[in-house]
């Protein structure tokens, strides 16, 4: 799994992160984990639902935007959170297949955190960096 940290100095009303992955697959999977960790304590979510996902986009950064937007959508539409993801990203033309693993938010046992509204384009970056890939994300809370 890749590395990530919170950025304190941008978007103070919301949550900003930077994520490093050894490759695109790793970065996308880490981004899914970061998002789940923002919403809930992942240890308090069951891993009893598998959710396959296929996405295509015009560019790689939009693919990441759409991937995370889909995870936020599933949180609201079906109360599902997926802390674990195995992602296979195709760079050109940009597309992904993902196997999401997680469960339903159970208000009797899930420790809730923030309720993300959207993935923004604010300071949004996805780019190759030495030794892997880098993304910067700001999530509207």
């Amino acid at each position: 799994m890749g590395a990530w940290n919170v950025l304190d100095t941008i978007a103070i009303a919301d949550c900003a992160f930077e994520i490093h992955g050894r490759d695109l697959d790793d970065l996308f999977a880490t981004a899914a984990q970061v998002l789940a960790d923002l919403m809930v304590d992942p240890q308090t979510v069951a891993r009893d639902i598998e959710h396959p996902l296929r996405l295509e986009a015009r560019s790689l950064d939009l693919l990441l935007h759409d991937f995370l937007s889909e995870l936020i959508f599933l949180k609201d539409s079906d109360q599902l959170v997926f802390p674990d993801a195995v992602v296979s990203v195709r760079a050109a033309p940009p597309a992904l297949t993902a196997g999401l693993s997680g469960g339903r938010i159970d208000r009797t046992r899930t420790i809730l955190r923030a309720d993300p509204k959207a993935v923004t384009f604010h300071h949004f970056v996805l780019e190759p960096r030495a030794g892997g890939w880098y993304a910067r994300l700001v999530i509207d809370i």
Binding site: D8, A11, I12, A13, L112, V138, I141
Partner: protein
């Protein structure tokens, strides 16, 4: 003077290399010469201290807004301004309806996030003995936090009706009174909602969330008028506020996942559409389309649909508040005097007519983290407030209180009838969590007489009072500017958070 230099003409050492010159008491202007592409000046309304505390993003973003096609007079930022997406929070900008643009970034993802305040005939002395029971019961009745679902389970066809009718649909189905609508901006229903412009995903995301609070800085609060809290007794009387000790209920929330998805959908759509219109923007979050274009009109229709669901959301929560308080105090909501003082948006675009350079123009007025503040006799001010002006609700932090103000005639000419919406953050959520644990803050607030119930203790820490600007400084500034006038201060005694 350069803002980064320390001269007597600038308020302080600001974190930007732009000339910010004083243009009046609590008014600061950045001229169009400061950034290529600026069509109008940028104006920041702030005391010297508030200006000095603003982050670099405010100056960058408000000047980016000044570059957008069709903008008139100036790009504005209110005293609670801080870094947002595209527009700063606290941003106000008006664009010609015929030649200008509409931008989701000027409205925010939480379309029609707004405030509602209800008065009661109860006093703090009557509420205190049952405060814990009241807050517990409200917390149980109004879903909060991640994955919260409302008590109303609608079919898709019914939710589409809500998109068009707004709070009126909720009242028509027995969850409120006609008077509630009269005390809501736009009567609780903005015209122009277009169901066909809304994606199925938006509908699926938001359909079960009516009557829920959400999280972040959204709250439901029991408040009291403090001993020195009435600043304008005449206007306070018009708002039904009799004096210190009176208990009010304040609500801050928006259009939930439905509005967030509309924002997401159209940000993506406009990002791709802009080249077709020959528009380039300095920040991707400023993605926009000509207001009269098919894309612009589609967003307008979807945005109004989302705004109407936000009115419906606050109306349903109002119904739950009345049910709970009637049960806790064993008196009907009518006997408790639980009447809506006002419900006002702070994340919208509205079609309004304002005078610019001597001409009355139809404008698309974007307010993002800014409150409409129409003065006496202005259109859409409810008859009960015609003589005094529209109530303005400014929410503060959960620890330090909120304020009721009233709109002014001067706001109509100075800020397109707009004022501040809150205290404005000074610290990131992560920084706030490092300074205090949620459980500790909840205990300390209880010791100070404020009962807090929250879906997420970590979320409480993020909303600590020290993470926000001084609300008093914001209210003093808008009062001094006469873009709204101080009426009543309010202090929290009970708080429900997501």
């Amino acid at each position: 003077m350069r803002a980064s230099s320390s001269t007597s003409e600038t308020a302080a050492s600001l974190p930007v290399a732009m000339k910010v010159r004083p243009a009046g008491d609590c008014i600061w202007e950045i001229s169009p010469e400061e950034k290529p592409g600026m069509l109008v000046p940028a104006r920041i309304y702030a005391s010297e201290a508030l200006l000095a505390g603003m982050d670099a993003g405010v100056f960058e973003q408000v000047t980016n807004v000044a570059c957008l096609p069709g903008i008139v007079r100036a790009a504005l930022c209110m005293p609670d301004g801080h870094w947002g997406y595209g527009f700063p929070i606290g941003g106000v900008a008006a664009f010609r309806a015929d030649t200008g643009i509409i931008s989701p970034g000027g409205i925010g993802f939480d379309i029609n996030c707004g405030m509602r305040v209800l008065r009661t005939s109860l006093t703090e002395a009557e509420v205190r003995p049952r405060l814990v029971a009241l807050v517990d019961a409200l917390f149980a009745a109004v879903p909060t936090g991640v994955g919260g679902h409302g008590f109303l389970h609608l079919e898709a066809s019914q939710f589409r009706e809500v998109m068009v009718e707004g709070a009126g649909w909720v009242v028509r189905h027995g969850y409120g009174r006609a008077e509630d609508l009269a005390a809501t901006e736009g009567g609780g229903c903005l015209p122009g909602a277009e169901v066909s412009a809304v994606s199925d995903r938006a509908l699926r995301r938001g359909m079960d969330q009516l009557g829920t609070l959400g999280s972040g800085n959204h709250y439901l609060e029991i408040q009291v008028v403090p001993p020195d809290g009435v600043h304008d007794p005449g206007v306070a009387r018009a708002f039904g506020i009799t004096g210190p000790g009176q208990v009010l209920v304040m609500l801050h929330c928006g259009s939930r996942g439905f509005g967030h998805q509309v924002g997401t959908d159209y940000l993506r759509r406009f990002d791709e559409a802009m080249p077709r219109y020959g528009i380039t923007v300095r920040d991707r979050e400023l993605a926009c389309a000509p207001f009269r274009s098919p894309d612009g009109q589609a967003y307008w229709g979807a945005m109004n649909a989302a705004a109407n669901t936000a009115f419906a959301n606050r109306q349903l929560i109002t119904h739950r508040i009345r049910e709970v308080m009637a049960r806790v105090f064993a008196r009907s909501a009518e006997a408790l005097g639980l009447d809506v003082i006002y419900d006002v948006c702070h994340n919208t675009a509205k079609l309004e007519r304002h005078v610019v350079d001597g001409r009355r123009l139809e404008l698309v007025v974007h307010r993002k983290g800014a409150t409409r503040a129409f003065g006496p006799g202005a259109p859409d001010v409810p008859p009960a407030y015609h003589a005094v002006g529209q109530p303005v609700i400014i929410g503060g932090s959960m620890e330090t209180g909120s304020a009721l103000l009233v709109g002014t005639e001067h706001a109509m000419t100075e800020t397109f009838g707009s004022t501040a919406h809150g205290a404005g953050r000074t610290m990131s959520r992560a920084q706030a969590k490092r300074r205090v644990r949620g459980e500790t803050l909840i205990r300390e607030m209880a010791e100070r007489g404020i009962v807090v119930r929250a879906a997420s203790p970590a979320g409480v820490a993020e909303e600590a009072g020290f993470a926000y600007k001084d609300l008093g400084a914001v209210v003093d500034t808008v009062h001094r500017l006469d873009i709204s006038r101080r009426v009543v201060s309010l202090q929290p005694i009970g708080n429900i958070k997501g």
